[in-house]
C-alpha cells in the first residue's frame, strides 16, 4: 500500500501542481505527505559568499515554500515538512533511500529557465535513479 508519499517542492508552479496531485493521491490512499525542500547551497556558494545573512535568507525562503505546501493540505491528511541543503537531485534521492517512500510526486518543470527543455534536470535525475515509482506532474 502507498503509505508515504515524498513531494519535493521548490515553490514553482510545476511543484504546486505536484502538491495538488499528491494531495489527491494521499486522500485516496490515506497516505502521509512528506514535503522536502532542498536549498541549493552549492549553487549559491558560487554566486556569493555564504554570509549568515544569506544563509538566513535561504532558510527563510525554504520555510515559506514548505509552509505554503503544508497549508494546501486539507485537515485529516498526515503531513510533515523537511528542509535540507545540498544538490537538490542528490539530496532528494538520499532522502528517499533513507525513508523509503512508496511514491515520489514531483513537477516536470521547476524554477529553472532553460528553454527548449521539456523536463527539468532535477526531475530527470530523480526519475532515472529512484528505486520507487515517480509521478511526474505536468
Amino acid at each position: 500500500m502507498v503509505k508515504n508519499i515524498l513531494v519535493p517542492v521548490d515553490g514553482s508552479e510545476g511543484s504546486d501542481r505536484a502538491v495538488v496531485q499528491a494531495i489527491a493521491m494521499a486522500e485516496i490512499c490515506e497516505a502521509k505527505l512528506n514535503f522536502l525542500y532542498v536549498a541549493n547551497i552549492n549553487q549559491l556558494a558560487i554566486n556569493a559568499f555564504l554570509s549568515d545573512a544569506i544563509l538566513e535568507a535561504v532558510t527563510k525562503a525554504g520555510s515559506v515554500i514548505l509552509d505554503r505546501a503544508m497549508e494546501m493540505v486539507p485537515s485529516g491528511i498526515e503531513k510533515e515538512a523537511f528542509s535540507e541543503t545540498g544538490s537538490p537531485a542528490v539530496v532528494i534521492l538520499d532522502f528517499a533511500a533513507e525513508r523509503n517512500p512508496d511514491l515520489i510526486v514531483m513537477g516536470s518543470r521547476g524554477l529553472g529557465v532553460v528553454k527548449g527543455v521539456l523536463l527539468g534536470s532535477v526531475s530527470q535525475y530523480v526519475v532515472e535513479q529512484s528505486k520507487c515509482p515517480v509521478m511526474v506532474v505536468k
Binding site: M1, V2, I28, C29, L119, V127, C132, M135
Partner: protein
C-alpha cells in the same frame, strides 16, 4: 483525477509494462476510472512483405497478437468492477501514446521506465522518456521492482 477521466497504460509485453499494468489496475480500482491498455506497433504486418521479411519477428508479430496477449493477461487479473479497453494503434509508440492520452483526456499515463529494448547504459527507455517529456497529463513511471505497488 476526475471521475470522467481515465488512465492509459502503454503495453509492450515487457516485465515493467506488466508491473505498470498491475499498478494501474490497483489505482483504477480506488479511483473508479476506466483504463485503456494501449499497444503501439511500429508497423502494420500488411506493410511487411511476407516472402522477404526484413523486419524482426518482435516487430511484425506484435500487430494484433500483442494486444490479444495483453488482454489475456489483464483479464485474468481484472477485478470485475474495473472498466478496461484494449486498443492497438500503428505508429511511433511515444507519439501514439501521447496522442491517445490527449484524445481520451486521460488524467494519468502509467508506464514502465524500461521496455523491451535493452540498450545498456540508459536508465530510461526511449519511449518512456519521450512520453514523460511530451505528455499533457501526469506520467507515473514504474521502475523494475519485485512487485507492483498497490494503493
Amino acid at each position: 483525477m476526475r471521475e470522467d477521466s481515465c488512465i492509459v497504460v502503454p503495453m509492450d509485453g515487457s516485465e515493467t509494462s506488466i508491473l505498470a499494468m498491475d499498478t494501474a489496475l490497483n489505482l483504477a480500482q480506488v479511483l473508479d476510472v476506466k483504463i485503456f491498455f494501449l499497444h503501439a506497433a511500429y508497423f502494420d504486418s500488411s506493410t511487411d512483405d511476407d516472402s522477404d521479411s526484413w523486419l524482426p519477428d518482435i516487430v511484425t508479430v506484435s500487430v494484433g497478437d500483442m494486444i490479444e496477449d495483453v488482454r489475456r493477461v489483464v483479464e485474468e487479473r481484472l477485478p470485475k468492477e474495473i472498466r478496461a479497453e484494449f486498443v492497438e494503434r500503428v505508429g511511433d509508440p511515444a507519439k501514439v501514446v501521447v496522442d491517445f492520452a490527449r484524445e481520451k483526456k486521460a488524467g494519468l499515463i502509467v508506464i514502465g521506465a524500461r521496455g523491451l529494448s535493452t540498450m545498456e547504459g540508459f536508465f530510461m527507455g526511449s519511449v518512456s522518456q519521450e512520453v514523460m517529456e511530451t505528455a499533457d497529463c501526469a506520467v507515473l513511471i514504474i521502475k523494475q521492482q519485485k512487485e507492483a505497488f498497490s494503493w
